[in-house]
């Protein structure tokens, strides 16, 4: 197959590209200034890396402002009720906090400065998520990066299929210590459960093992599902009829409440938060965010009590 012709879209022609011999003269840490490709967008200067830094730095405050807009909407509605329980704290499950999704700047891959920039030289891509408690979930779908053991987990790394991970997690490998220690030694396995929300067009999946408490789980779910409450579903031409309609949005804004429930090993639906966290992760098979009006029949002494 012949080499495709590279179009000169942005004033960049082949001659400007540094030759391979030149680059091989460099040491392993390539000095970017020498080999830097100039972008030359039509009508504008190519952004220098330093400017890039500036853009992003000033971006953070800009973004906060923008995000306040988002969380305002969230403040207006979304009174989520969460039935106490260990680690539940005084916050409701989906209660808006100091700016909902505000992480003080968007997290690209979860680390606090993102993989955009570190300094003017070679970018170091973020590898491992920092163990910042307020970063309860990354931009990935709710696979938060709380490190339960001594090692923080990177989303999707090592690259092992969920099928395999779930299989190994469900039955920890045998070792010489016998069954009692096997579970502990497996450390951070993972346990994907499905999360559905009444009215949302599709399910999500979360790995329960990466959360350390109900609070972590609740903030992660809040991030995952808040987009449904803000009515973003309608704004992108999604043709599925399951998106939230305007009347539902109004319901939320006027304080209709949601509760988080789960199906346990016996097939019963319970309110989340009644049992200690470890017991919950052991017995939870799937999660459902249901309208509190539907949850009336659930068996629990704490039914619909706000917070504690």
């Amino acid at each position: 197959m012949s080499k495709p012709i590279e179009h000169d879209y942005i004033g960049l022609s082949e001659q400007q590209l540094p030759s391979m011999e030149k680059s091989s003269d460099k040491k392993d840490g390539l000095h970017l200034k020498d080999t830097e490709l100039r972008l030359g967008l039509p009508g504008s200067e190519s952004p220098e890396r330093e400017d890039h830094d500036q853009n992003v730095l000033s971006l953070k405050s800009f973004v906060s402002g923008a995000k306040r807009g988002f969380s305002d909407a969230l403040d207006g509605g979304g009174n989520w009720v969460f039935s106490g329980g260990s680690g539940g704290g005084t916050e409701g499950l989906f209660s808006p906090r100091r700016g909902g999704k505000n992480n003080g700047g968007k997290d690209l891959s979860g680390s606090d400065s993102g993989s955009v920039l570190k300094d003017g030289a070679a970018q170091k891509p973020s590898v491992v998520q920092e163990k910042k408690p307020q970063v309860a979930a990354t931009s990935s779908h709710g696979n938060g990066n709380i490190a339960p053991a001594s090692k923080a987990q990177v989303v999707g790394w090592p690259p092992i299929r969920s099928f395999r991970k779930n299989t190994l997690a469900a039955h920890p490998p045998k070792n010489d210590d016998g069954d009692g220690n096997a579970e502990a030694k497996l450390g951070s396995g993972c346990l994907y459960v499905k999360v559905s929300m009444d009215g949302a067009p599709y399910l999500r999946k979360v790995d329960l093992k990466i959360y350390g408490s109900y609070k972590d789980l609740s903030s992660a779910l809040e991030k995952m599902f808040s987009c449904f409450t803000i009515g973003q579903c309608g704004s992108h031409g999604v043709s599925s009829g399951d998106g939230l309609t305007e009347s539902r949005l109004i319901d939320l804004l006027h304080g209709s409440e949601y509760v988080l429930t789960y199906e346990d090993k016996d097939g019963d639906w319970m309110l989340v938060g009644d049992v200690p966290w470890e017991m919950f992760t052991d017995s939870c098979k799937r999660l459902r965010i249901m309208k509190s009006t539907e949850a009336i029949g659930l068996v629990t002494r704490q039914c619909l009590l706000p917070n504690k």
Partner: protein
Amino acid sequence: MQKEMAYSFPDEVLKHVFSFIQSDKDRNAVSLVCKSWYEIERWCRRKVFIGNCYAVSPRMVIRRFPEVRSIELKGKPHFADFNLVPDGWGGYVLQWIAEMAGAYPWLGEIRLKRMVVTDESLELIAKSFKNFKVLVLFSCEGFSTDGLAAIAASCKNLRELDLRESEVDDLSGHWLAQFPETCTSLVSLNISCLGSDEVSFSALERLVDRCPNLRSLQLNRAVTLDKIANILRRAPQLVDFGTGNYAAELQPDVFSNLAGAFSSCKELKSLSGFWDVVPAYLPALYSICPRLTSLNLSYATIQSPDLIKLVSHCPRLQRLLVLDYVEDSGLEELASSCKDLQELRVFPSDPFGVEPNVSLTEQGLVAVSLGCPKLQSVLYFCRRMSNAALVTIAQNCPNLTRFRLCIIEPKTPDYLTLDPLDAGFGAIVEHCKDLRRLSLSGLLTDHVFEYIGTYGKKLEMLSVAFAGDSDLGLHHVLSGCESLRKLEIRDCPFGDKALLANAAKLETMRSLWMSSCAVSFGACKLLGQKMPKLNVEVIDETEPPDSRPESYPVDKLYIYRSVAGPRFDMPPFVWSMDEAVKILH
């Protein structure tokens, strides 16, 4: 018009000749010869493979190929396997089924990979295609046993039902009983992904009983060891068998029953399953081991000594999937016993542990490369590697076509020299001239991409993570790898420059995935504007990319060529850069 030989053949003759041409590539070539060949070929194409379900629309396929009997579709990007693609992204098959239901009444085979298949889709398949024979759902999701019941009940001549690695909502095990008594046509049944504790075993037994052509059967974990003998005795003609649970208290009569059942299967060549293995039951397999060519022990949590014993009984083994419990010592035994080995996959037993839990290092792989000259395909998870080992492997195995190495800790350098592993992977691409698939790991600079661009001329798929220093790395790959079809990158400092400079290359590839890199939103928009034959999709779950400055990098980017234009089933967190699709603020 000149009466040349080719043009004087009647259409029927050409059609007959074309019927011997099965490969898609050849068929595509045939269709380009001239208009009349194009016409003839399109009317007699029976099999269509669509590597990206969004590259073309069902209507377009139907318009061009009106007589299709077999279709294969792939949906989500490969990185969806590792949870990098959020749920709801897409890959729905329903519309395809709906359109094909009208256009292809004789459709007999549907093979899907990484697609969302609902019960509604399955029910539609069941009632639309009278001659339905083959359903393969590889790594799919969205359906339940209700959908399977519809398939079982309606498809009178079903030959193949393969659900490998799919996620099925297990509502009831009784769907198996929906296969009518008249159904005797099953050749292949793979239900290994089902979790249901109540796969109706008696229904399964009866089904196996009445299907004399059953060649391939993969049970699910819920089926216990004591039941295996019953099944095998009913199907001694099996070629490929997946056990369920392989654990039970050791009882002599159960053991001998099992051993006897296995030995009666004279055609058995391939085994899998082996969840929860009790090593004492492994010797029950010894009678068939000499014939085994494929062994999947990748769920078997048994230790090296037991693995060694088993493997040493299998001299004909061509394919081995195993956990890293096999350790270097087990791989050394493999290297000396199994000279026909072509494919080896070693999976990690404790991928998230900080310290190694087993003694599996680069030495195991080196030993196999030395002892198994036919080695072609490698997937290897380990915790340390050296350039020297990689060079040795490359020199020992010049016939490698697939090499995927995953050093568990990102950016791990050569453990002997602390250098990057550029030279090692460089040796792989240099020596293995037929390499089609490569996955990189460890500490890597732009140099490795230089090597790949220079030598990887047959490379079709490249997976990159936590590697490289600059756009130069990406540029080397995009400009050098002539055969590249799929490129997937995560957490690398690749930005706009290389991407924009090689924009045309993207039209020659199936797809490009980049996540946690440094491609700006502005560049994505530019690509979307300038390249109408590419669908440029930005994935961001936290907020719309246009709520930030254009220089801000996007979270995830998926670019694929398409003749169907932008899709309209995108969820809220996927933005198309196509100008025709309005983005609301």
